[in-house]
Amino acid sequence: MTRTILIVDDDPMIRKLIATTLEDVAGYRLEEAADGAEAIERAVDVRPEIVFLDVDMPEINGIEACRRLRSDPVTAGATIVMLTGGGAQAESGALAAGADLFLTKPFSPLHLLRLVDRIGAAS
């Protein structure tokens, strides 16, 4: 089965940056979504192993999207990595919503790559 990463951020440039960073690195197929609602829809379709989920999005934000992904048995098993603006509150909020890990923006691309390597090796 193809392993998939779903990249969710309302800024297309950040999505592109993450996708380019992870391209051809770990053999994952890369999918993108521009907001929380699209993220939930895409996740049901592509069953991602990893979801990079931006917290700060209009309409359905990352926290809410995370909660919904966790509550649907089809998507509940994904490793959810929250992209936060930093701060203890953002981190505890992300963890309370069910995120596994978080990256603080601006994130380190090296850290991103190592994270995917580690998650890929563990599963």
Binding site: D11, I14, K105, P106, L110
Partner: protein
Amino acid sequence: MVIAQSIGHTRVVCVSRLDNALVGRAIEVSVSGDGENIVTLRARLDRTERQASARQRQLERYAADLREVFKQERNRAQELRSSYRATVRALSNAVEARDAYTGKHAERVTAYGIALAAAAGLDTDLVPGLEFGFLLHDVGKVAVPDAILFKPSSLDDAEFALIAQHPVIGADIVKDIDFLGEGKLVVRHHHERWDGAGYPDRLAGEQIPLAARVFAVADAFDALTTDRPYRRGTRFSRARAEIREHSGSQFDPEVVAALDTISDARFAALRDGVA
């Protein structure tokens, strides 16, 4: 962001600081409603500005990581090279340990050879295996029995044939070491002669790899200037004269000419650097 609303008009002028300067760009937007529209507009522009500065910070982070990776890579290349050098030296020392008389011949001839290669026009940075090939030139001697290698009297044909195999055996020993590169050619061809009378392949002139032609001169220079049990080493000037006598027969004339562009003082410094 600056938002100005003129009283009595439904015109809002927004100056965005997207490019960090108020002079940057001004967007004039007509709004049909009241304060609520302005609030929406303000939120949207705030968001765009936040996004722009987040992008900039993110790109700076990418640049910082790239710089780190570059530095790491550079350090690792240096570490790798010094590990290679230490390993090659250990192998070269193992070969030399058999012969108490040659002392640090391999290291001296390597120092002379690199200086001579540069003088002969070889870009020594582009031929990283050169140094290693010089150090390992005699590695094939491990396969030659002591009784022949250290025989005090002259060799018969069969014995010489065995000695003449050492470059072939040496080349076979190092054949799978990729980082040796052109250095492997030195191991195989360091006993070829310019006139084609050398061994093992009887190559002549420019058929002989330049690195091996350079090595042959450096090797002779060290042999002539180093004390042996049966003779004292000659002075640099006499060694130069003797090598010149064999220019065009044993040695490449251009390499012999290059030898004379390196001063005695320089050779002395190289020799003392090894000792």
